[in-house]
């Protein structure tokens, strides 16, 4: 906490002007960003052929409660899959964090990705670190106004397209896009788009590293998964500081031999690693909660070391154990447990998805009246059958009953009971049975729904209850 002479807990934000850097981690981050953006921004536009349903590869149709993922159609009953996906995501985060630290934060988190893009825009419009600092300090003039306005306009454009793209996942993308701009889209589409535009602009443009430092819960609880073997971005203190601490390059301290003699370390205190840091910390102070492990300081330090002709790795991925000279191991009880849990969750989800029931049957007893006496003295019960076809082909069904000897089943006067692809249907059936005097109360039986000419779909036996006058009275 910076002492500002007051007892306030609020810390004024120090502006951070991250400097651009080139290197292998920066290249990897650009690759991740390119891949993630291609998927996110293009996926709603990918067309997909289906017998029935929309021709969009990924579409979450809330109104119809159908969620299209390529060849998979998830229904409302499959909500458990979402639990599975979230569980896998959480376990994957635990597992990866246990092994390699905050990899998610540094390379894959959308906050990091969007902030990276916003920084790129800022750099292209306003120039690199020094130019930006100078621009901020200069008085307002036409040039400053133009550059600042252009930056924010581009940020808003990116934010808007981000929000709109998210919205496009929930309806037919080309149609919704036209509707959006002609003012005929649903209110929810405008609300979602504008909300995400606002949050993207504020989080990636204005709040930036404060999201990671103050808002993000993952940032904090990932620390709980750290131990001495977790890989972290760290400064090699013994090499960098030497006996007498870091020292800038000077005439007396130019070559490594000269520096060794005078007890200086390899760190030339150029400050490049601090300047490139998007969270504005000095990695040489050790592991800090602000560090998102983006590894840009590694790129920065390696650039300097290579230009001096010294070996790289003054700042590098290592672990506490390794830097203490102990053996660092990837497979520890914790990571093995996370890995196993992850494998089990993936297997369970895969099994659940592959064994999705093609046909869903539910029997709902008509309870008003529970039973009716017919003219011939028989008792009649009625049931509403909810049938749902989850396949892409029509299914012809036959309904039979078993378990009540001599009972009669009336399914109506249909020519054929054909369940259209991806559709559900409710059918009212009547069961008539003569109960002898000895049988009162209720009897259990089964209503069998049998797919015709479809060997791949098995019969479904739905339990039902037949109520009679007697004990019910």
């Amino acid at each position: 906490m910076v002492d500002t002479g007051t007892d306030t807990l609020y810390q004024q934000r120090m502006p951070i002007y991250p400097r651009s850097v080139k290197g292998r981690f920066r290249n990897f981050k650009w690759a991740v960003l390119g891949f993630a953006y291609s998927v996110y921004f293009l996926l709603p536009w990918l067309r997909w052929e289906r017998n029935v349903g929309p021709d969009q590869a990924v579409l979450f149709d809330i109104a119809a409660r159908k969620f299209y993922l390529f060849n998979l159609v998830a229904h409302a009953q499959d909500l458990l899959w979402l639990v599975g996906v979230l569980l896998i995501a959480a376990l994957l985060l635990f597992f990866v964090t246990g092994i390699a630290g905050r990899v998610f934060c540094g390379y894959f988190c959308f906050q990091t990705l969007w902030t990276d893009l916003y920084l790129l825009i800022e750099r292209l419009v306003q120039g690199d670190r020094v130019a930006r600092i100078r621009l901020d300090k200069s008085p307002w003039n036409a040039n400053k106004l133009l550059r600042k306005a252009a930056t924010h306009a581009l940020w808003l454009a990116v934010a808007f397209w981000t929000g709109l793209t998210f919205t496009l996942y929930w309806d037919n993308a080309p149609q919704l896009l036209v509707k959006w701009f002609t003012g005929s889209a649903p209110f929810a589409a405008y609300a979602t788009t504008l909300f995400l535009t606002a949050t993207t602009y504020v989080m990636a443009g204005l709040a930036r590293e404060q999201v990671c430092t103050y808002m993000c819960p993952y940032a904090r609880f990932q620390s709980a998964m750290f131990d001495a073997h977790t890989r972290i971005v760290a400064y090699d203190e013994s090499r960098g500081e030497g006996a007498q601490g870091r020292h800038k390059i000077s005439r007396e301290q130019k070559s490594r031999e000269q520096r060794r003699q005078q007890g200086s370390g390899d760190c030339i205190d150029c400050g490049f690693c601090v300047q490139v840091c998007p969270t504005g910390i000095d990695i040489r102070n050790g592991l800090q909660v602000q560090c998102i492990s983006c590894a840009l300081c590694i790129d920065a330090c390696d650039t300097i070391m290579e230009s001096l002709g010294w070996e790289s790795g003054l700042i590098r991925y290592t672990s506490e154990a390794a830097s203490d000279g102990r053996k660092s191991s990837v497979w520890r009880p914790k990571t093995i447990a996370y890995g196993l849990a992850l494998l089990i969750a993936i297997a369970a989800l895969a099994w659940s998805v592959s064994s999705q029931a093609p046909l869903d049957v539910a029997v709902i007893q008509v309870r008003q009246p529970l039973f009716v006496r017919l003219s011939d003295g028989n008792i009649q019960n009625s049931y509403e059958l909810h049938l749902e076809n989850k396949t892409n082909e029509a299914i012809e069904l036959a309904i039979m009953m078993r378990g009540l000897a001599g009972a009669e089943l009336d399914v109506g006067r249909f020519d054929a009971l054909i369940l259209a692809p991806q559709r559900s249907l409710r059918v009212l059936v009547h069961v008539r049975w003569r109960s002898s005097h000895s049988e009162k109360g209720s009897r259990s039986f089964f209503l069998d729904v049998i797919p015709q000419e479809r060997k791949d779909i098995g019969m479904i036996s739905a339990p039902a209850t037949f109520y009679m006058p007697g004990n019910n009275r």
Binding site: T6, Y10, D376, Q380, A420, H430
Partner: protein, 309 residues
Amino acid sequence: MSQTKGNKQGAVQTTGHAWDGDIQEFNNPLPGWWLWSFYATVVFAVVYWVFYPAWPIADSYTKGVMNNVTFVDGKGNEKTTHWNTRSVLLRDLQEGKTAVLSREYMDKVAAAGYSEILADPEMMAFTRSMAKGIFGDNCAPCHGAGGAGVIGLFPNLADDDWLWGGSVEDIEMTINDGHFGFMPAFRETFSEAQLNDVASYVLSLSGQSVDASASARGKTVFQTDEGGCHYCHTPAATGLKSQGAANLTDQIWTIVDVNGAADLEGKMALVKQVISNGVERRMPHWSERLTPAQIKLLTVYVHELGGGQ
């Protein structure tokens, strides 16, 4: 609480005035975020006044601009008013996505014949869900939500016995025109002995073991002009749908709960009560209250309740 600029703990700003030498006034301004949120709500309110109904003026109010809602009122006239939730709801009920879909399907069902509807599972499912609401609004107060009726007052629609006919044509006619069901009271006409005899005969028709001689005497009363019962109930006692006369040979009793009586004596008492007092039941006609399409849906719904004829 508020930590604004220059407001340091223990050194609260004052307004700078001093009265009587040492009386000063603390200055604790509102936090900036609070103040700006307040200004934003003020701006919002002003914009709201312009576009939405807002200010009362005598017996009227400001209507707002550029907020017209067009809908079709109950009489079929297109109306345009200023924005109000009632009109928005009416418009949604007419132009909303599901409203349009349901209207289209309603037109399809209305254009289809009864046999066509009965043979199509999808049309039946649509009919059931739509008619359930119409039935609940109009029929359920008497016949009950599931059509089970009330013994003695309103017939059970969920069984397979139909006083006025159970074909779709008969049911449609019943709903359209209503019915007046009537059986004269015989308490003045019949002696106690005759009442006993006719009641015995009526019970024997549905398979109850009764006194054979009483039943034979009752048969004579029933089948001749002495009682005249056969005119409406027919000589076979299976009822006459043009009169709404009940079938006496089946197991269904709509006026008294004969099946629920514990013993023969109880059953006799109940049947005698009906013969003595007669029956008078009335169902209103619905042709003026419901549209032909609604009556069609109701017809199919009622027909399906008990399995149909």
